[in-house]
Amino acid sequence: MTSTLSALATAVATEGGHGGGQAVAEATGVFDLTWLLIAFPLLGAAILLLGGRRTDKVGHLIGCGASIASFVMGVVLFAAMLGEPSDGRAFTSQLWEYVNAGGYTVDVSLLLDQLSISFVLLITGVGSLIHVYSIGYMEHDERRRRFFGYLNLFVAAMLLLVLAADYLVLFIGWEGVGLASYLLIGFWQHKNSAAVAAKKAFVVNRVGDMGMVLAMSSMVLVFGSTAFDVVFASAEGASTGWVTAIGLFLLLGACGKSAQFPLQSWLLDAMEGPTPVSALIHAATMVTAGVYLIVRSAAIYDLAPDARTAVVIVGAITLLMGAIIGCAKDDIKKALAGSTMSQIGYMTLAAGLGPAGYAFAIFHLLTHGFFKANMFLGAGSVMHGMHDEVNMRRYGGLRIAMPVTFITFAMGYLAIIGIPPFAGYFSKDKIIEAAFADNWITGLATLLGAGITAFYMTRLMLMTFFGNRRWKQSEPPHESPSVMTAPLWALAFLSVVGGFALLYFGAGIVDWLAPVTGEEHHELPMPLWLLITITLATVVAGVAVAWLMYGRRAVREDVPAGSPLTVAARNDLYGDAFNEAVFMRPGQYLTRSLVYFENRGVDGAVVGTATAFGGLSSRLRRLQTGFVRSYAVTMLGGVGVVVLAMLVVRLP
């Protein structure tokens, strides 16, 4: 392993490339038009958000058109890339110089390579399907145009994130997707819970962003630049301490965006947003940005084994946490959100395994994008038919009323629990293999996660589509219109064949990504057939337990008391309580005490007084009681401190 690492690092250092050491060429021809990918949705967002009511009627068409145009552009670029030699598929195009402050310059330039085109196709492909679906889902919303504007804005920002060739430009996309995410979580702002959830997402993400800023600051300090090529090429020359620190800071950023422990709490609340948003942003694309960040920073993590261990630990904890939360939720979207956390945990864990896992992390990310978007949109379809009911205890037997939703959802279900030959089987199995090859503990964690996943997904399936009907409405729920079911079919198709196709089509995704991420193979501690058998047995066991609990017995409409673990899982494993105890309470205490010294209740008297005169007189009274004097005394104290500080420095 060490020899591979050093060989890799040498390749990075000598060729001045990025990641796996692939040389980066100046973009020419069609590759010089990479910027169009971002320009289409950005233009769409501008038209929709600035155009006002005039674009109300055609807003949804403009939104879909912009996204599809970007997808077509992505396919063209992908085809062009296939025509290039496998180690010459990275291109940069510089747009303009963004910052030039002293020795530190930042160019707005785009990097198109195997990794970024994979994301481009996922974002624009799944994004376009979700745009189309939203035409139906948001049909009765009077602010539909604005919704499409935000979606376009999101797609543009997300594409900037994955195409940036500099951490700072990546950060701009990073904040952009955050902004779009808050706007869309809080889209139904008349619901108080939506506004609160949007705020929570913002606050938690600020903590993650702090990690990003600190990582970039450290890069400026150590490398004098945040451009990928410079940072990756000179990473080897930096001290291990710094590289590890940068790796940990990046991990903090990734945790915020990807809802990984300990910054996971916002994702469950984010389900307040419209369901297509949950599918696009909070399942398929934005929340996977953290995984992208880690894989993109391969050159840094390759040199920082400690940071990689931290990544693995975070991934393992989140994968189990998310799965456990998913088991206890009765809200269909929250159960899926727990599942998303858990699946991203898988990807993070794989990314933490280094070159042995990077490609599998991206592989699982792509298949997860297919089947999770599929299931979220399916859940949206169910909600559409059930008058926005989200409580699965009020569902039941919907397979007859909504056959298309049921069949497509089932494809996603079989994919996520990892039944061959559905998509999730290939990608998850690869991660489990890599985890066992690394060490037993991570291997067992992924295996256990697979079992729990099978349990909670089966539970969700049974509660929603099987069993006795528990809904109260008089007429049976209707199937959704074809503008919504067509995307479901497309995603269901991808959930079925996506895994097999990605793994074996052409040279396969592992070889495709190898020039960027590097490649490494580990020996399994047991025969492969044995591991596959154990994995499948675990999955079947999970399914069986769920069937015993929810299939054989009727589902209760009231919420049973449940074991302590169930209660804990219902409360998001006390993630909020943790945040409150660790961050909020001390923060509030600090604020209050500081404000006490600062204001001594000044505002209370003035602001609390309703009439202006009351405030005025109290102000005046305070003036006469010598308030200025206390300011002056503070200043005098400050003078003493400053002069003393000056003199103390000179003391030997």
Binding site: V99, I172, Q189, E598, G615, L620, Y631, M635, V642, V649
Partner: protein
Amino acid sequence: MNAPTIEYAELAPLITIFGAAVIGVLIEAFVPRKVRHPVQVAVALLALVAALVQVILLAGTGMVAAVGAVAVDGPALFLQGTILVLAIISVAFFAERRLEAGGDAFAPAASTLPGSEEERILVRERMLQTEVYPLALFAVGGMLLFPAANDLLMLFIALEVMSLPLYLLCGMARRRRLLSQEAALKYFLLGAFSSAIFLFGMAFVYGYAGTLRFGEISEALTANIGQDGILLAGVGLMAVGLLFKVGAVPFHSWTPDVYQGAPTPVTGFMAACTKLAAFGAMVRLFYVAFGGMRTDWQPMLWAVAIATMLVGAVVALTQTDIKRMLAYSSIAHAGFVLTAMVAADQTATAAILFYLATYGIATLGAFAVVTLVRDSGGEATHLAKWAGLGRRSPVLAATFALFLLAFAGIPLTSGFVGKLSVFTAAIDGGAAPLVVVGVIASAIAAFFYVRVIVLMFFSDPAPEGPTVAVPSLWTAVGITLGAAATLLLGIVPGPLLDLAQQASLFVR
């Protein structure tokens, strides 16, 4: 003995402004009351634009004028240009008359007793106080001179010329006059106190160096060894005077009260231009005169910067008045500038120049928006009244949100690039721990900016909420320019960064 030579061409911007201010006083005496307002506004704007043109024409000059007392160099001209642009917009805001039914933001006559019969008559007759324009011009003159002053005496004169008109302007609010007068008196008393300390420090420094010129003080640092106590005390005391003007902790206590009490256009003018001028003067004094002893003053500035960032950000969290919140935010921003100041090199100068320009523009715009949100009692500055503003006037709320995002340093706004450049400069200058504190402070600060945005867009409007006044063209153009610049400098900051870079060399 020969008469000293004065470089009139190089000092033209200063002469223009001071000349126009004197003319403004004469207009008060000789022009009939009815036409006085338009004439004063026209004279002020003309003078400011003329001075701006002169500054632009002087670009690239690097010399010491007026027998060594005034520097005409990159940092001075950059700041003078920025101050003049901001002052032009400020005067446009001063002249706004649509919001108060024919009146402006100032009391008809500041000398009348608040609530008296006299005052009521003047309000009814729609009297306007036109002295504000010459006062503002004097203040601008002082602000132009302050960052250009190249000897201690000129520095002190500029400080006073800048400050005295501001004390008066603070006390002239049309509404809530007692609050305004209290603010003015507080500002004056504390300002006088800090001036005294500053003067005391100057005396020490003169005692040590035997000269007033910055350049000669710098030389004396290496020559006079053995009297360091007097020098250190002097530098410390002078620092206090300047830190007071920029509103750094622990010399900040006046800021929230004065920002809240002063007429809002004046608050914006003060928050933007005074800070620029004071930082300019501080950077010149510490880099040119005291640059040789930076290891002595750097630790002190470290402590002040940390305290300023943290206190500003944390205390702003619980403010319920929008003007007080912006005041604390300006304190935190002073702390961010100080992080670069500690680095003490040319990169830092450039970063500070850029930061000040972007900060000034956003601040002016934010305070202008505050003047537009009104209820029956004048401006509705309590935050609770801003709830749901985004539903009633989305454009105004979005503009304010843009300024707040710039303060918070969110990418694609000028504030982000500004923070980036000061933090980069601080890292290069060996102050990385300060940057960590800065990042934490800006994360804290982001909370209260976003709280306002959430309040505006996601809360239900208050039942008897304020209305958004439709401003005259002046104010509308001013705010639009500010918003456009804030966004543009966030996307394409290159040209201004280059300009700041070119302008960052002090003449000695």
